[in-house]
């Protein structure tokens, strides 16, 4: 349906309200990206795009990224705009719901981590920690559609 999407990462099967996440992000994308002055850098796509990740590593890198956004990114994105904050909350709570499901897969050994996903995620963290925390969080949030497009 236009509502939910089922993602199959090998044996790991995740249902996700992609439409709700996308509509919340679309509503604030311009506002968030306008707060990101550093247009030449990317957190998720530097030096290589997510599309380079092998399919066998897709579940693990997705798990890492949902943890990254929930644990590190959203909390540093509070703005003075109540509407933007509400949309960030919608995305964050949806991400938390998916993160839980990925954790289940991981515990059941359905979301194995290879060398490549570890390397890719290490690069993403290095990109993130290369900026001050607010700038890095805002930039990461502004790149959410890169993650969503790659997942779809």
């Amino acid at each position: 349906t236009a509502g939910n999407k089922i993602f199959h990462f090998g044996p790991c099967r995740i249902s996700m309200s992609m439409t709700e996440i996308r509509s919340s992000f679309t509503a604030i994308k311009a506002n968030i990206q306008a707060r990101d002055p550093i247009r030449t850098l990317s957190i998720l796509s530097h030096p290589h795009s997510l599309h380079k990740v092998k399919s066998s590593d897709r579940c693990c890198i997705t798990h890492h990224l949902f943890n990254f956004y929930v644990d590190k990114v959203f909390k540093h994105c509070k703005t003075e705009d109540s509407y933007v904050n509400r949309k960030i909350s919608s995305i964050a709570n949806s991400f938390l719901s998916v993160k839980r499901k990925l954790e289940q897969c991981h515990k059941q050994n359905k979301c194995m981590c290879g060398q490549e996903s570890a390397e890719k995620f290490k690069q993403i963290l290095a990109n993130y920690e290369g900026l001050n925390v607010i700038a890095a969080a805002i930039k990461s949030l502004g790149e959410l559609d890169i993650l969503l497009n790659w997942m779809e």
Binding site: G3, K75, Y83
Partner: protein, 204 residues
């Protein structure tokens, strides 16, 4: 001095078909207009954002005792909700919803449905209930319930063609909704039967 303004009481949720409303009893202050403000807190805010609360601006300083929280309850996690009252410079404590609200508990009603015999074609029109809703439509020849057929309708735009009917027997249809975000179905609608007769619709 000014008596403390009582916090709103009887705070509850009305949630049907993924539309969620927070309601409460009015705070009565003779000769004064009482205004209310609503805030919510998702599981994310509780566990990762210092238990912060987020105001709903459409329900800030309102006089109504109901707030549409549908847009903010957009994840299948446990939410806290609270309301407070204001009269002039006086402000009450927060009144909180007892327990959490998770949209998984929304009540799902059977869909409104209209079955049409258009000549020999069996059609069904379904109520548009929003993007979260799919429909499971069952149809069969009366008396042949064991040979019931199913059609899943993911998006409602126009009448859905179910089958090409033979002249004579009655064809019966019933439908239920399915919401994938919470993985739940409604109960089935009333069964409706029609019969094809050379292009004239006949209601039974």
């Amino acid at each position: 001095g000014d008596a403390l303004l009582p916090a709103p009481q009887n705070i509850s949720i009305l949630s049907t078909n993924m539309k969620h409303f927070l309601t409460w009893s009015p705070v009565i202050v003779q000769g004064e207009t009482v205004r209310y403000s609503v805030e919510f807190q998702g599981e994310y805010e509780r566990e990762y954002a210092n238990e912060s609360w987020i105001p709903i601006c459409e329900c800030s300083l309102i006089t109504a005792t109901v707030c549409n929280i549908t847009e903010d309850i957009s994840a299948t996690v446990a939410y806290n909700l609270r309301v407070r009252a204001d009269v002039g410079a006086r402000r009450s404590e927060w009144g909180a919803l007892k327990g959490f609200f998770n949209r998984i508990t929304t009540s799902l009603t059977p869909p409104l449905m209209k079955v049409i015999a258009d000549g020999y074609h069996l059609l069904v029109e379904l109520e548009d209930m929003g993007p979260a809703f799919q429909f499971c439509v069952l149809y069969w020849k009366k008396g042949q319930e064991s040979r019931m057929q199913q059609k899943v309708v993911k998006e409602v735009s126009s009448a859905v063609h179910l089958d090409t009917m033979e002249a004579g027997p009655d064809y019966c249809v019933k439908a239920q909704t399915y919401v994938e975000a919470i993985n739940r179905n409604s109960s089935f609608s009333q069964t409706q039967c029609v019969r094809a007769q050379g292009g004239r619709s006949v209601w039974l």
